[in-house]
Amino acid sequence: MIELRSIKPDFSRWPVGSVRRRIVVNEVFKAACIAIASLSVIILLVLLGSILVEGAPALSWKFITSSPSPDPENCGIGPVIMGSIWVCLGCAAIAVPLGVGTAIFMEEFPPRSTIARRFHEFVQLNITNLAGVPSIVYGILGLTAFANMFGLFGKPDEPAFELGARHFRQYVTEGTEVVLIPIASPTDVPILVDGMTVETFDGKPIKLIVVVPGNELPQDASMLKKTMWSDAEGGLITKKPWYYLRLPFGRSILAASLTLMLVVLPVIIISTQEALRSVPKTLREGSLGLGSTPWQMVWNVTLPAAIPGIMTGTILSVSRAIGEAAPVLMLAGIVYITKSPRHLADDFAVLPIQIYYWAGQPIAQGDGINFQNLAAAGIIVLLAILLTFNALAIIIRQRTQRPLS
């Protein structure tokens, strides 16, 4: 038998450590934590404060509506805001269906065979890795795949394929009226025939009087307006409707939307997966138990239940696209834009790029508004837009926070 008494240690041999010291250490640590944690609040306040102070003098209604200009005093961001809106809408229109579709496939159609399981694991790994790829790499991909299309369709300024473009030769009549003759391809030169119908610049049809050199021009002024020499030379003009498209996309809104789609797609997939995962399993079983197919279950039960979560995640991802600058910089460079975009293939600028451009300008000494003020004012507008988006997401989250089971 073991003598139990001999094993029991004599606790009184060791002095008890100071409890108070440990409590003090705890309190000091807690105070340090509070101080350090508060630091991020202070940083945020300083950041917002410094931007408000810099930007306030430049911020006005005129700033929001007018166009960029080399003169800081008369500079605005109207077309740039429009550019951001176009790009963001385009990006959301492509990324949301793709991302939600992927997430549904990953969450609602579990693999049944070993090969399918491997595929699922591979795709999941792939998505997490895509989320970690620097956005500038997506910019390079977008530049090559969307803007230049690997050079498959020629150079962006001489597109191999155009949709909706109407080419015209533009002539000036002897009565200094501008007339347009429709042509099939940009290189065509129309033969001028007497009595042919052409368009004025506003699209009204008129009958042309063509005079062969050596003959006399009509004297009447109204006739002269419709009269041209048969050897007159015209310039190329192209009218682009709102649905105009070309291949390759070039430095266009469409290319930028697609590139930003690449950036936000992994984020949308991951947030949608989380939203779908939060739908209770019992609801899915209830639906399947009634004899619904997996897709009927997703459409009637899972998706409606997950919609608030999906929307919140999507809004936050898309707001990330609005603030993203690096891929757009890769794609479009810095462009000087004075008009809002009119079609998907149009040139554009977005807010973060404009801010970047202004922030990189040399700081002018003097009293007036300088480019730094403009950059700060642009940031205020950008943050206001993002804040609206975030508030929207929070409202959706609050409104729909009811239990599902």
Partner: protein, 324 residues
């Protein structure tokens, strides 16, 4: 059917119209629709795989084209210590100056973000202060949502002048220190939320055991929870650092455009992302050797971040499994 008589307790054992009489939906049609939808969703899923493939193929092909150009070589790229494609008589393509710039920025960023993010996470997770949490959480969310170009502007117009105003402290107008600090601020929310996840994943029972042995909150969080969550914290660090490496706008604005190896973070430096952005801004002809050099740099950047993301998530997954 019977409207007034429905109140009778007697209930017909048959449904109002025999269910069997109703035409069923065609099962074949349902199946066809089902396959179609599944096919469509599979297409969406394959798209994300295609993106990865496209990145890899594109970078490999174009980087290979770069390495075939005169004056370039793989060994010169990987081991060279001079990078001056845009300046000077002879162009050198040694990537180390860009990597050194990237490492400096990342190191500075992490030495800002790691303590701040981690301690904030410990505080939020272990001390769970109600009032401060109500302020801290939205603060971090707002910080996470601020576009990076804003941090670049902040670095240029606030942090750099502040550093320069310190007496006896010589700082270039463009410098790695200020850009690094801004990247650090940017990384705080990422690191904080990942670290908080890691701390939350430590089972309650461990904490309760430590408390029951008479530990203070400090003892419990520093001596029990943090060691238990260590691999999760390492993964937070890796994923945060990946974000810092890939950051572009701050460094192009605040760190400058001179690629060089330096031991002094107060001077102008260029990172890999900074170089790519500089070329993209459009000062360079589209088909020269300088243009193709961005693909080689991007390939290096992609491999580096891919490896870090991969290991970060591996560690995170292992760590989560350990406590499930």
């Amino acid at each position: 059917m019977a409207q007034a008589t429905t109140l009778e307790p007697e209930l017909s054992s048959n449904p109002p119209r025999l269910l069997a009489e109703l035409p069923f939906r065609s099962l074949r049609w349902i199946r066809v629709k089902e396959s179609f939808v599944k096919f469509l969703l599979l297409g969406c899923t394959l798209f994300s795989v295609m993106i990865t493939l496209a990145i890899i193929v594109l970078l490999a092909v174009e980087a290979a084209r770069f390495f075939r150009m005169p004056g370039t070589s793989v060994s010169g790229f990987l081991f060279g210590t001079r990078w001056n494609p845009l300046l000077g008589e002879t162009k050198h393509f040694g990537v180390w100056p860009l990597i050194s710039g990237t490492l400096w920025i990342t190191a500075i960023a992490m030495s800002v973000a790691m303590p701040l993010g981690l301690i904030t996470a410990i505080f939020l997770s272990e001390y769970s202060p109600r009032k401060l949490r109500a302020v801290l959480k939205p603060t971090l969310e707002i910080l996470a949502g601020i576009p990076t170009v804003v941090f670049g502007f902040f670095a240029l117009t606030f942090i750099t002048p502040m550093l320069r105003s310190i007496p006896g402290f010589q700082v270039d107008i463009y410098n790695a220190l200020s850009a690094g600090i801004a990247v650090g601020i940017l990384s705080i929310p990422t690191i904080c939320s990942l670290a908080e996840d890691a701390l939350q994943a430590v089972p309650r029972s461990l904490r309760e055991a430590a408390f029951s042995l008479g530990g203070t909150r400090f003892d419990v969080s520093v001596k029990v929870v943090i060691p238990a969550a260590l691999s999760g914290i390492v993964s937070a660090f890796l994923l945060g650092a990946t974000r810092a490496i890939g950051e572009t706008m701050i460094v192009t604005l605040a760190a400058g455009n001179r690629a060089r190896i330096s031991w002094d973070p107060r001077v102008e430096m260029q990172t890999m992302t900074g170089y790519i952005a500089q070329v993209a801004k459009g000062d360079v002809s589209n088909f020269g050797v300088e243009y193709y050099s961005i693909y080689a740099v991007a390939a290096a950047l992609f491999l580096l971040t891919l490896a870090m993301t991969f290991f970060g998530h591996m560690i995170r997954k292992r760590f989560r499994e350990a406590y499930e």
